[in-house]
């Protein structure tokens, strides 16, 4: 039995999918939730094998929810938007169902799931960070992170800086640090270049948070943020910073 969770903000859409799934004996719907917050809690509790995930949802979207999960279940996206296909593909989703979809189309998707279950080696264990390369259409305006069981939405203009911490990136916003799986390269790409600058191999800074820049040792500099933090600036980082600040 494959245990499924549905996350969709439209009650009728949840109902329809549950109706469809009722006739597939190998699949059981164990929970249905109307937004990312409830969904996050539900997934932690129920530990489903398969997730039917809508993309456009209140406050945090389907992709952002997925980023928060340490061990994401298999995912089938269900949405009326065809513009997210690349991003969904990038998330290693098993399938991408365009609403309205037929039962037959659902059957095909479920068959894929069954195949993956029988041969789990095909399935990648970790979900990569959202929107690499092609799928970046707009610069990031907010970042969704969790600490413990709580989800935080950080508007990018409240973020002071990013620092590399092993496989994670530490995001410091309003005096608090949050860890998120990802690379500095990824964040450098998805943040607006006029607002954020990679000043060092392991630091990206929000330029509006800088209070002063001072020379340090031979060819290096230090930036002082308004909150008192000091961050080292490498030689190339200084070049980038000069470009962003036009100095």
């Amino acid at each position: 039995m494959i245990r499924c969770v549905i996350i969709d903000d439209e009650p009728l859409a949840r109902e329809l999918l549950a109706d469809y799934l009722a006739s597939f004996t190998d699949f059981e719907v164990v929970g249905a939730f109307q937004d990312g917050f409830e969904g996050f809690k539900g997934i932690a509790e129920l530990k489903p094998d398969l997730l039917f995930l809508d993309i456009e949802m209140p406050k945090i979207n389907g992709f952002e929810l997925l980023e928060l999960l340490d061990e994401p279940p298999k995912v089938i996206f269900t949405t009326a938007y065809d513009t997210y296909a690349i991003q969904a593909f990038d998330q290693q989703a098993i399938d991408y169902l365009l609403k309205p979809f037929s039962k037959e189309r659902l059957r095909q998707a479920l068959e894929k799931v069954s195949r993956e279950v029988q041969d789990p080696t095909e399935f990648p264990s970790k979900v990569r960070a959202v929107s690499e390369d092609l799928s970046v259409r707009d610069y990031l305006r907010r970042i969704v992170v969790k600490s413990g069981n709580r989800i935080h939405i950080l508007p990018v203009d409240t973020i002071h800086f990013f620092s590399a911490e092993g496989d994670y990136v530490k995001i410091v916003s309003e005096g608090k640090g949050y860890l998120k799986l990802g690379t500095m390269g990824h964040f450098e790409k998805v943040l607006h270049p006029n607002e954020f600058t990679r000043i060092h191999r392991s630091h990206i800074v929000n330029v509006s948070m800088i209070s002063k820049i001072e020379p340090f040792q031979k060819e290096n500099f230090l930036v002082f943020l308004k909150d008192g933090t000091q961050l080292p600036v490498s030689k190339t980082g200084m070049g980038r910073l000069r470009k962003t600040l036009r100095i």
Binding site: P11, L12, L16, M57, K59, P100, I153, P155
Partner: protein, 347 residues
């Protein structure tokens, strides 16, 4: 644009201009010499006349530059040339009268040659004027052509965008999905939604954004739209329409409020998690119809990408219709986002 034009005229093709002036100089020199067989006089005459001619062309250029193109036709151009020629010839004559340059014999010859000078000057200036004018017209025409193409492209883009907006594919597909869900359990409700969807689309597709509609008619479509959204989102969505009788027959450009309402629903539904109330209130405020559209909001969630696009285009549309930028006010307080639109009532 105008500036470029000026630079082009004063600095462009200087070699051509100098060659032309030299030709003029040589011709005057030759004519003058054949007239009185005096090299000294001929050179003086040629220098003076060429300078006068150059000055004349410069003045002509200036006049044509400041004179609105298109109104300047052959006859006025001829008149200008004539006036300039006579003025310059007269100026030359005055200069030569001076003791140190003048020679009674040369002065007599100069006076005898006056008609000849005026006629040649007139022809030359007229020619110069036409050349200047034709250059200007073609440049201007070229720019106008480019602008025309640009305007055409902009309006096509706007039209396409409008059509796509009108179709609202996501709304349509999600609604179809809802109908699909209703078919099994509540066929009556499914039927109701099919009808609602059909009415909404028919009404919308028949609408001409250039036309004005009564508030009642606009509100009817908005009501249809909100009913459909209510079926989709169930108890999460409630709405309030407040339209006093005195505002019923007021007119406004179609689809303006609908854009605001769609925007409010979108940001209400995706901006907060709980139940949302969309409130629409119209009232008559002196010479204006004032409509307020409110939705709950949460500042913490950070702006979703694409936010404000609907409002931006609405603002542009208002500006195109009324030429004013103060008709749309946005307010955000105590978790409620309000968009207030004012429609001037002309009659």
């Amino acid at each position: 644009m105008e500036n470029q034009l000026k630079i082009h005229k004063l600095t462009g093709e200087p070699l051509d201009h100098i060659a032309f002036l030299l030709m003029v100089f040589a011709s005057i020199l030759a004519c003058s010499f054949f007239w009185h067989q005096q090299w000294e006089w001929a050179i003086q005459d040629a220098i003076m006349s060429t300078l006068a001619f150059g000055l004349g062309v410069f003045i002509l250029n200036m006049i044509l530059y400041y004179y609105p193109i298109g109104k300047f036709r052959t006859w006025p151009a001829l008149m200008f040339s004539l006036v300039i020629t006579i003025a310059l010839v007269f100026a030359c004559r005055l200069l030569w009268k001076g003791e140190f340059l003048g020679d009674p014999e040369f002065l007599r010859l100069f006076e005898e040659s006056l008609p000849f000078r005026v006629i040649v000057g007139l022809l030359l200036f007229h020619l110069a004027g036409l050349i200047i004018l034709s250059g200007k017209t073609s440049l201007k025409e070229f720019q106008m052509m480019q602008q025309g193409e640009l305007r055409q492209k902009l309006s096509t883009d706007a039209e396409l965008h409008y059509l796509r907006q009108q179709m609202q594919p996501h709304f349509l597909f999600n609604s179809l999905n809802s109908i699909n869900a209703l078919l099994a359990r509540q066929p009556e409700k499914a039927r109701e939604m099919v009808q609602g969807l059909a009415d909404f689309y028919r009404e919308n597709l028949n609408k001409d954004p250039k036309k004005w509609e009564t508030l009642t008619r606009e509100m009817k479509v908005i009501g249809q739209y909100l009913e459909l959204e209510k079926i989709r989102f169930g108890h999460r969505l409630t709405y309030e329409l407040v339209v006093p009788a005195e505002a019923d027959e007021l007119k406004l450009p179609s689809l303006l409020i609908q854009t605001l309402v769609e925007n409010a629903v979108k940001h209400g539904l995706y901006g907060v998690t709980g139940d949302i109330l969309i409130r629409i209130e119209a009232r008559k405020e002196q010479q204006y119809l004032e409509v307020t559209v409110q939705n709950p909001t949460d500042n913490q969630s950070g702006k979703a990408s694409g936010t404000g696009f609907g409002l931006d285009s609405l603002e542009r549309r208002l500006f195109l219709i009324f030429g004013r930028k103060d008709l749309l006010t946005l307010r955000n307080s105590a978790g409620i986002f309000s968009a207030i639109i004012k429609i001037p009532q002309t009659n």
